[in-house]
Amino acid sequence: MSVSSATGGAIFDEMGWPGEVRPPYALIDAWLKSLPPETQTMKRREAEVLFRRIGITFAVYTEGGDPERLIPFDFIPRVLAQAEWQRLRRGLEQRAKALNAFIHDVYHDREIIRAGRVPEKLILHNSEFRPEMEGLDLPGRMYSHIAGIDMVRTGPDDYYVLEDNCRTPSGVSYMVENREVMQRLFPDLFRRNLVAPVAHYPDELLATLRSLAPPHCVGEPTIVLLTPGIYNSAYYEHAFLADEMGIELVEGADLVVKKDICYMRTTAGLARVDVIYRRIDDDYLDPLVFRPESMLGVPGVHYANRAGNLTLTNAVGAGIADDKAVYIHVPEMVRFYLGEEPLLRNVPTHDCSKPAELQHVLDHLDELVVKAVHGSGGYGMLVGPHASRAELDKFRELLKTRPQGYIAQPTLALSTVPTFVDAGIAPRHVDLRPFVLCGADRIRVVPGGLTRVALKEGSLVVNSSQGGGTKDTWVLET
């Protein structure tokens, strides 16, 4: 199925609605039919209470009201058959390997540029390129140790990678907690379905972080999670992961670097730190090297990293592979570094910095999705078919003034999954963010990922900052 026919064709519902129910959803279908409407309402309320009690909240910027908002949870699971998942998993591992090889190459010999596969200016003039990282060898040659690969589906066998999040992808706590809440709400459901567990994600993450201990580290590495603090939108997740891994959750002020060695301030004095899982952007990480005004970071932490005394995950400079203009070249990276054909497809993407493509984009603006090259979280994005005339005009201007800042993609007919809405159960568009863990020893992927759902009818924007919700994602064992 080509993308253009997907645009015009029927929307693929993963459960099969309104037609015949697809096999992975057989039990879900029966369960839904047996669930009285009162129970549905009751369970929805129960779920909300659980989330509030546990404190699984997400702060949304540029918005008044309750700063600790819940991401709406929809309790109809999204189901993948084992075979479907295995295909995806192989593709994800392949892609993560290629992305890491690319980042390593960018900061070393730049063979891919010399081979003419990726344009030099795209890398060296990119604000995500960090010259400070040049020539530094990292454990296992890994940079994006925790990668979130956003996937969409348009048909039974049609998956596309929407974007790669190589810096500090969030959302994994929802993957784990959604399952926890589902199991509390509907214990019977899990007795009748063999669902691959996800609760061991923190163990896998910890194993990954341990494998990345710096060369100078002897014995068991001390690992910490660095958070910007309680006002960060993903603070809950930082606390959750640190807690589950049994490591300290630290803020910048808790760490200090002396003679290129990083320590944390404990009640018993300074204690050496070997690995930092940081959830702070590059820009704020080290005021001596990046933004000098940052209060969130740790002065000198970059030098501890360069001296081989400390591992930072994800590595500084991994964002170079996040860039949406670089994204266009990922299939080529798979061929170039791994000598394999890519198992996962890219969405066909127009590079607006090329005049011919820009013209095409301007001519078809109302059919396309336009994204800022460095944007994330659904900010700075235009969904042509749903945009007002004013929004279209605004983006037309933006594209003409800074074409190199944007890419455009066809509007995909994202698959739907049945979802509770005010009027009952209705299909809503979903995406999937699996989390790929790249250690120095091996790659680990917990089955499934985070399914985000656009709760507004017809909406294709699933970002939580734009009113999206989440679902539990099931990979069936059999």
Binding site: I54, V250, D254, R265, T266, T267, G269
Partner: protein, 314 residues
């Protein structure tokens, strides 16, 4: 453990303890006010303000201590750092900052308290029934919290710091409560030892839930010297100063440190205070002036708090 985590646990427990104390103060003031025999309707509310340690802030805002304004100030006022609302808010902020050091039940107890608090705040000013329900609710929530701490926390440094915070706060509260008699007006000098005076001593016992404890240990009518003894030097009573300091010294000693030097001063001060309490005699304390004794104790408790923070890198 992380110094910031220790600090947050310490303040979390302190503010939970304080919320409980402030609720108790108001509950008893309300009760006393209802049985007051003379016409001075404001005196119990004034003592509540004094005993809460916030008279300066209060009288900067209001000229007199009337029931409505005192209740609002101590329960709901955002400008008062020790109002119940602010205590719970601060406790939760500290809990949130160290979620990884809490058990999930501890967190849920604090978080649910903070959530339910919104209903009371929205309904304020509360009528008499609702107000009592509110104070009972605060006491129950704090009791739940300390119970979970006792039953679930690993006996490592985090637990010790939480307990040190709780008992330091409690010592300060008990000292202030007892000292309130010094500040409170009696209708006339002749009333010393009279009915109003008597009820005020009973009220003090009620705030710390010690009516029964008093009967068990002393029997007979309430006498000032016995109340002082109960609240200062009887280690059987869990809100006495001696009991608080017994636990503060125990926990400070148990905190696992490689660098004993920096924490030595806090330990020294705590032990010195405990020794004074342990070997003190009520008659001597009263003869030298109860108010002077309590003022000194409040100041030393305050200094100890500063020293603990310094000694453990807060």
């Amino acid at each position: 453990m992380l110094a910031r985590a220790a600090e947050s646990l310490y303040w979390l427990a302190r503010y939970m303890e304080r919320a409980d104390y402030v609720a108790r103060l108001m509950q008893v003031a309300g009760h006393m006010n209802a049985v007051r025999v003379d016409s001075d309707r404001n005196s119990e509310w004034e003592s509540a303000i004094v005993a809460s340690g916030s008279s300066k802030a209060y009288f900067a805002k209001y000229p007199v201590a009337s029931e409505a304004t005192v209740i609002d100030f101590l329960a709901f006022d955002r400008d008062n750092a020790s109002s119940i609302v602010n205590c719970i808010e601060t406790a939760r902020r500290n809990a949130r900052a160290v979620r990884t050091a809490l058990t999930s039940d501890m967190w849920e107890a604090v978080n649910a308290t903070w959530q339910e608090l919104a209903q009371y705040r929205a309904a304020a000013p509360l009528n008499q029934d609702r107000l009592n329900e509110f104070f009972d609710w605060v006491k129950a929530r704090v009791g739940l919290f300390h119970g979970i701490v006792a039953n679930e926390m690993l006996r490592l440094d985090g637990y010790r710091f939480a307990r040190v915070g709780q008992f330091l706060e409690r010592a300060d509260n008990t000292a202030r409560l007892l000292d309130v008699k010094y500040h409170v007006r009696l209708p006339t000098v002749d009333d010393v030892g009279g009915v109003v005076d008597y009820y005020q001593w009973v009220a003090i016992l009620r705030v710390v839930g010690a009516r029964r404890a008093y009967r068990v240990l002393f029997k007979g009518p309430v006498q000032p010297a016995h109340v002082a003894e109960l609240l200062i030097i009887r280690t059987e009573f869990p809100r006495s100063l001696a009991y608080c300091y017994q636990h503060i010294t125990d926990h400070l000693d148990a905190i696992d440190r490689f660098d004993a030097k920096t924490a030595a001063e806090a330990k020294r001060q705590a032990h010195s205070l405990y020794a004074d309490l342990r070997f003190g005699r009520t008659e001597q304390i009263i003869a030298n002036g109860l108010h002077e004794y309590l003022t000194d104790l409040i100041q030393r408790t305050d200094r100890l708090g500063v020293e603990i923070a310094k000694g453990h890198l807060f």
